[in-house]
């Protein structure tokens, strides 16, 4: 556990001393801020109150902005985790200390997940604003953030895995982006395949779009929990095995 905390702290420190981190945080918050502003502006007009949409469900669900942001955000956050250490050789110092492959993988993952949560934290202000100016469904807000956490956790796990599997940061970035894009496109397949086919069921099952719509309207489906649990655990397991395999490669 001591190794876990040591690496966790160092990873967090490293992330926030690089300019890249602050650029990512700023871009993320600017995009989210504009998104929120547009939604509030939209809902403040009395004409167009259709259906059961709320600013909250529109912010988290039914929007491409969320994935676009994650798509741009996650690959550069995870690309350096292992690839950079292998390039600079510091991995040799790290792995010759008495640490297990699992604790290295988990501590790096925990650090990048913490960063991700920290990036979303300022958006909590939007909830305060919504609460002050109108109604806020606390349950839906909680499930929305759960969705954001799960999707991010899954994406970051995939990114970490890519960084452990390839030697170059750039390739890790490209692979992560490709896999995330592939997942998203597979999800979009939900709208183009015929209902009742296996393909449709598969697409619907992995559709981040549909997942976030559910979460944003306060629905927490156990199938989603299992799906994202797998999306987190599987790449982490593969990464651990990859780190162990370096000794023999």
């Amino acid at each position: 556990m001591r190794a876990f905390w040591a690496i966790y702290k160092r990873e967090l420190f490293t992330f926030f001393v690089t300019p890249l981190a602050w650029v990512l945080v700023v871009v993320f918050l600017v995009v989210q801020g504009m998104h929120f502003y547009l939604l509030v502006d939209h809902f403040s007009r009395p004409v167009d109150l259709s259906g059961d949409e709320t600013p909250l469900s529109a912010f988290f669900g039914n929007t491409v902005l969320m994935y676009l942001v994650l798509f741009v955000l996650v690959p550069p956050m995870t690309m350096r985790l292992f690839a950079e250490e292998r390039r600079s050789g510091t991995i040799e110092m790290l792995m010759t200390a008495p640490v297990s492959a699992a604790s290295v993988v988990l501590s790096k993952y925990a650090a990048v997940l913490t960063t991700y949560v920290a990036m979303w934290a300022p958006t909590g202000l939007y909830l305060v604003i919504l609460h002050r100016t109108g109604g806020l469904d606390a349950g839906a807000a909680a499930s929305s953030y759960l969705g954001v956490l799960l999707v991010g956790a899954g994406y970051l796990s995939i990114g970490l895995c890519a960084s452990a599997l390839v030697r170059s940061q750039f390739l890790a970035l490209v692979w992560t982006a490709l896999v995330l894009l592939g997942l998203f496109i597979l999800g979009v397949g939900e709208f183009v395949t015929r209902e009742g086919t296996t393909m449709h069921a598969l697409c619907a099952h992995v559709s981040v779009w549909a997942h976030m719509n559910d979460f944003a309207s306060g629905v927490v489906d156990s199938r989603r929990l299992v799906f994202y649990g797998t999306l987190v655990a599987l790449p982490l397991y593969v990464s651990t095995r990859a780190v162990e395999a370096w000794r023999w490669g």
Binding site: R2, A3, R10, F13, T14, M93, T96, P98, R247
Partner: protein, 320 residues
Amino acid sequence: MISVSHLTRRYGAQVAVDDVSFEVGKGEVVGFLGPNGAGKSTTLRILAGFLGPTAGTVKIAGHDVVDDSFEARRAVGYMPETAPLYGEMRVVDFLRFRAELKRVPRGQRAAWVDDAMDKAGVLDVAHRRIAHLSKGYRQRVGLADAIVARPPIVILDEPTAGLDPNQIRAARALVRDLGRDHTVVLSTHILSEVEACATRVLLIHKGKLVAEGATETIRAMGATTSVDLLVRGEAGPATKALQAVEGVTGVSPMAGAAEGTRLRATFAEKLSHAERTRVTERCVAALVAAGCGVHEVRPSGGSLEDVFTSLTRDEAGAAS
């Protein structure tokens, strides 16, 4: 402390380390010597637990590096070649991180880090970022890292590579100091380096251990290839006398004599140490018999450099 038996390591089809066996006892300073690409780094990486052996067993302080890797790694402080470090960290923060990683108890961490910085001579840059340090300082931070958790064994891969002569002297002194409290294994392709720091030498070439022994033994093993003599008078009669000696294959004049003549008598190849001594005796006797007073007798060659060239040359000769 370290016991290696029949260690083999392959990278694909390429054999980097080929059936190497050796032991390192407590308190020894052992120099791993060989040209670049001989398999030194690979061997050290296996000892440090970064790479696994393809075949054979390696025990560090009684712990197998495969089955009991965790405990084996705890017993070792390792400095990789070129000492890769996290450039964005300050020296003291980096060493505290390393101490925590190596399970130095919280209460002792600050003191042990200070102690390691003091020993490695990096106290004056403790609060500088590692990326801003010179190569010499970075190497020393790597050394501080190797000793920060006070491991019984310290493994240093090319500890003086890329340093200037002053820094090399300082680094060697440091290694000698380390030898007092730790078992030290270091690698180098510079022969004078092991002569300066190590008590025992392992010569490795193309993945195989070609020779092993105390630094003096290795030097004696080999390699006096000639004897330099300073004689009174002219070169002519002395040269003639030496050429007649059994076991001498050539005599050549040398520069640098203020008075008299300096000559080098080259020995026949592949003589044993005892035979070479006898040839030297005969040379002196022949000179005296010829009426040339002998001022100075100095065996030449005999550095590890010569040992190495002769050993590897023999092997190349045997192969062809």
